[in-house]
Subunit: 285 residues, 2 copies
């Protein structure tokens, strides 16, 4: 059996590394436009060989599509056009509505499974991939009823073998929730990093005065712009709404500080503290 990974980055690479351990007899081939990524993927043993997308589609049973979401949206119909019967494509994109739409009218829609693993780090590229990334994490499959039962069963088996817990959702619902629990925290972090960099011209000052709290809050600001710009764009309506809600709350908090309204500040923070219950659960995952 052969599995192809198109876009050998953090997610695609980590999935391959995890599955290789479980399936020593599966051959992994990789497709990537970056020669550097190709070399790293081979050197780390993420894939056995680099091939063209055409070749991957010809030989692979399962094609993992793990590029940035704008490339997924473009490649998916082209790949469905070319894919032989009985083969499967799964994507790993962080948005689902436009990607699913790109496949919906295709006669081979059934050979596609729309997947999003709830896992990541602030690092990107195959150099950042590690086999433990997906273990014990949640994964969302969208529109499972639009996938053939064989393709769905194949994908579900591999996801479970990578240690993931499967949930099902509609793309619209997925994108709405993701705007709040993932996309917004990336923007808040990018903006925090930039606010501090703009103010503190002397980096040594940040270095001397920042604590681990700052690093934790700002670490997503290291995330790949090339990956995130298309995500925010594809999920524009939801992300804009989430960001608007966030800005409104920040303004109210600023007003409370400006007006020395400690009661409002306290109630704001006390309500926010409830996130602790949820974090305890996430950390136990």
């Amino acid at each position: 059996m052969i599995i192809s990974v198109t876009g050998i980055g953090l997610l695609g690479g980590s999935l391959a590394l995890s599955l290789r351990e479980k399936y020593p007899n599966v051959r992994f081939v990789g497709v990537d436009t970056s020669v550097v990524n190709q070399k790293i993927a081979l050197a780390k043993g993420i894939v056995d060989e680099i091939v063209s997308l055409e070749e991957a589609l010809e030989i692979a049973e399962l094609n993992v599509l793990a590029t940035p979401v704008d490339a997924i949206q473009k490649l998916l119909p082209i790949m469905l056009d070319a894919i032989p019967e009985g083969r499967t494509i799964m994507d790993l994109g962080s948005t689902k509505e436009l990607i699913c739409k790109a496949a919906d009218q295709h006669p081979k829609r059934g050979q596609f499974v729309a997947v999003h693993p709830m896992a990541g780090t602030e690092n990107s590229g195959p150099g950042a991939a590690f086999k433990e990334l997906l273990g014990n994490k949640n994964v969302i499959i969208c529109d499972r009823d639009k996938s053939n039962s064989d393709s769905l069963a194949l994908v579900e088996t591999f996801l479970r073998d990578a240690g993931m817990k499967i949930h099902y959702m509609r793309p619209v619902e997925h994108d709405l929730h993701l705007a709040y629990v993932s996309h917004l925290s990336h923007i808040s972090s990018f903006a925090l990093g930039l606010t501090v960099l703009d103010k503190e011209q002397d980096e040594q000052t940040i270095f001397d005065m920042a604590s681990t709290g700052f690093s934790s809050t700002v670490r997503l600001a290291k995330s790949s712009p090339q990956m995130w710009a298309p995500i925010f764009d594809q999920n524009k309506t939801n992300v804009s709404k989430a960001l608007g809600d966030y800005i409104e709350l920040l303004k109210k908090f600023k007003d409370a500080i400006d007006n020395k309204d400690l009661d409002t500040s306290l109630s704001f923070m006390t309500r926010a503290n409830e996130i602790g219950r949820i974090l305890a659960g996430i950390e136990k995952k």
Copy 2:
């Protein structure tokens, strides 16, 4: 020798635990208005005995004042009034301007050393204290020229023995920088937690869909409101300015998303990526 800790929380408790290891013959006494904190501090061996503030000032060579900053501001002049000659008070407050001002006109100003360790976690209280918290962290001493050389030397010795690297700064400068590298990240995190909680009425959804990126960005939202409300209030002008800068950047980013202006989004994130260099340094600390 006796050291007193008034306000036996995360910072005061961690400092005591760290120093106890280096100075097994020093006796530690604690002052705290909370009976629960008193019991935990005794049970964890943070202090040997709970005493009144009056008694602490009578017997302790060094008095560590580690309450929330509003209480520091109120207690400091009262403690200076009562303290015998040759004894020292150091505070651990996250703001410095108003605290230093509260001591500046006092005839015993020289017996006070204004200290702020760049360390913390999202947890609070003596239960969260651990002896490694301060090791290898930076600490700021403000207005060192206003402290007696004996008091300064005593405090510096203990801070170094707790593993800290000492920097010197004026209170005004300290509070300005802290607004950006610490206070703002707490507000961004509180607001992020609240935005998500307000939207996601079903906590299971957050639990299923959030990844470690979300936990990292939002973990400061667990911080103590009672500790942070007075910090934001004491550093009102700087925090309000930092928060205003942050809101402006978020609005610009929102406009870029709304207008499908990917170039601006990309340049915004690429500039924010530079924080990575600084984070690498902080994580190595």
